[in-house]
Structure formats: structure tokens, C-alpha cells
């Protein structure tokens, strides 16, 4: 029996998981791993950490299988755990006080190294990614969930357990911050290429 088939809902798979059926966990992993991993990677900007966070997220799904409300959709629960784990990692990293040089290297380095990804790493996208990684955590999370996971404001509010107005305001300020940072980097790039002042 193939558990990946769409005929098995998330609730069915969680029920099977409760009966210690690890194939059900594998099926849920196949269904949601990419979303969880990419969300963690976009928030932390570290692919190795994103892998660890995705692992921990599915281990928590296994551990808390009996306590998950199967009448509710699973995806918001997974996103919530991912965001919380990412937040824990980021706050621990800040406590470790990494050197400024290492931080700059980390932010400037591309997230992926696959050939198709390298082709996509245009200068604009590099600037966008760097600008996102410099946003405050709350704004970064909203940007990631909105643009990467294509979630609407209500869904994000549900995941972050805060009012829709708060999400709306964070998204507004995040976009303003991004725009300002991108304008600045664009200006710096123009100066570096000697285009400044040319009209």
C-alpha cells in the first residue's frame, strides 16, 4: 500500500502514526519536507541548519502525534514548529556573538551550490536575499511565509499566533525596509560601476 497517495489525508496518516506506523511518518515527510526545509533555510540563511531544523520538526511531529488536533490542517502546525525552531537557533547564534567578519561572510555567501541555482543567482536576487537576511526576525518570518510559502495574512497570523493587523504591519515595514536596503545597495553598485551622476 502506497501511503503517499493523495487518498490518505493528513489526519489518516497521523492516526496511523499514532499506531506507531513509521511509513505514515515517511509519507508526511515526503509531503511536507520541501516546504519545511525551504522555510527554515529562508529564515536562517544556512542550509545545514535548515536540514537540522527540518529533522527536528518531523521528529516533533512523531513525538507529539497523540497531541495534534487532527481536525485542523497539519501545514500551519509544521510551519509554527519550523518558525519556533528557527527562532531558537537564531537567538542562540546571537548569544554566541559570532565575529562581524564571519557574519558578513555568512550573509554574503550564496545559500545553494547546485548548478541550476548558481544560474539563478543574479545580482538582483543576491541583493534581495542579503536584504532579507538583514531584516529583524519578525519581519523576516512574515516575508518568508508570504513570498516563499505564498500564505495569506490570516494563515500567517494563525501560524504566528498573533492578530492579522500585526502581520499586516510587519509585512508593511518589512517591505519598506527591503525597498530601502535595495535602493541603497543599488546606489552603492552604481557608484562602484561608475554610473553615479550620469543622467
Amino acid at each position: 500500500m502506497n501511503l503517499i497517495d493523495e487518498e490518505f489525508s493528513d489526519a489518516d496518516l497521523i492516526e496511523r502514526l499514532r499506531a506507531s506506523d513509521l511509513d505514515a511518518l515517511g509519507a508526511l515527510f515526503d509531503r511536507y519536507y520541501s516546504q519545511v526545509y525551504r522555510t527554515a533555510a529562508a529564515i536562517t540563511r544556512d542550509n545545514a541548519v535548515a536540514e537540522d531544523i527540518a529533522q527536528d520538526c518531523f521528529l516533533k511531529l512523531h513525538q507529539y502525534a497523540h497531541r495534534i488536533d487532527v481536525s485542523l490542517p497539519l501545514a500551519p502546525w509544521l510551519y509554527r514548529v519550523t518558525v519556533n525552531l528557527s527562532y531558537t537557533w537564531i537567538s542562540r547564534r546571537q548569544k554566541r556573538r559570532v565575529s562581524l567578519e564571519a557574519l558578513v561572510d555568512h550573509l554574503m555567501s550564496p545559500a545553494g551550490h547546485a548548478p541550476d541555482q548558481l544560474a539563478e543567482n543574479s545580482e538582483v536576487q543576491q541583493h534581495v536575499r542579503q536584504a532579507i537576511s538583514e531584516l529583524p526576525f519578525n519581519q523576516r518570518v512574515v516575508i518568508v511565509l508570504h513570498y516563499l510559502s505564498s500564505l495569506n495574512l490570516e494563515e500567517i497570523a494563525d501560524i504566528l499566533d498573533c492578530p492579522v493587523g500585526t502581520v499586516k504591519s510587519r509585512l508593511y515595514y518589512a517591505r519598506e525596509n527591503l525597498r530601502r536596503r535595495l535602493d541603497e545597495s543599488h546606489r552603492i553598485s552604481e557608484v562602484a560601476h561608475g554610473y553615479a551622476g550620469i543622467t
Binding site: 515527510f29 526545509y37 533555510a41 513525538q63 502525534a65 497523540h66 541550476d116 536576487q125 532579507i132 525597498r179
Partner: protein
């Protein structure tokens, strides 16, 4: 023009994020194997016991019982009201606005 700029901005952000962290099949397979191994060693938490649900009728009966006890306590044990009523009223003597000598009863709480 402004809307076009907004759309371009949104498209740039969305595109840069979508291609940022693609998952390779090999990476996913390795992660899956590792997850299943770790999950096999991990114990599942039991479901949380739901709090005992109380019927509204039971709640009302409880509240009524509490009020009755308090009322009986007031009537039979607490004598402060009776003592206050038994005491003679206190008189306060003074000259009123017309300069005449007068007195009044002061109500004082116990």
C-alpha cells in the same frame, strides 16, 4: 506606474526566495532515512488528559450551596449586625445654621 513597481518588487522578492533553497532528491532521501531511524528510537508522548467537564447544572448547584452557607453563617454565627442594631444611637451636638443648639444621630458602622 506605482502598481507596476510594486509588482516588479514582489516578483523580485518571490523569485529570489523560490530559487534560494532547492532540495535535491539525494538530500531528501538521506534526510528521510535519518528521520525514520531517529523516530524509531524516540518515544511518543501520550495524549493529554482532558480536564473533567462539569455540567452547567452542577455549577449552578455549587454556587447556590455557597451562597446559602454564607447566608446561614450571617444569620446564626455572625452577630455583628445584631450588636450594631442593639447599641443606642450616638448623638452629635452642634449649633445649626440658625445659631440654635441641636443634635443629630450619627450612623456609624461597626
Amino acid at each position: 506606474m506605482q502598481e507596476l513597481r510594486e509588482e516588479l518588487f514582489d516578483a523580485d522578492v518571490a523569485r529570489s526566495m523560490r530559487f534560494d533553497s532547492l532540495v535535491t532528491p539525494m538530500q531528501k532521501h538521506a534526510a528521510r532515512e535519518q528521520l525514520l531511524l531517529r523516530a524509531a528510537e524516540q518515544a511518543m508522548l501520550s495524549s493529554l488528559a482532558l480536564p473533567e467537564s462539569r455540567s452547567p447544572l452542577r455549577d449552578h448547584a455549587y454556587t447556590l450551596g455557597q451562597h446559602t452557607l454564607r447566608f446561614l453563617n450571617l444569620l446564626l454565627i455572625d452577630s455583628s449586625i445584631y450588636e450594631r442594631a442593639r447599641r443606642p444611637p450616638r448623638l452629635y451636638q452642634y449649633y445649626n445654621a440658625h445659631g440654635r443648639y441641636a443634635f443629630s444621630i450619627i450612623h456609624m458602622s461597626a
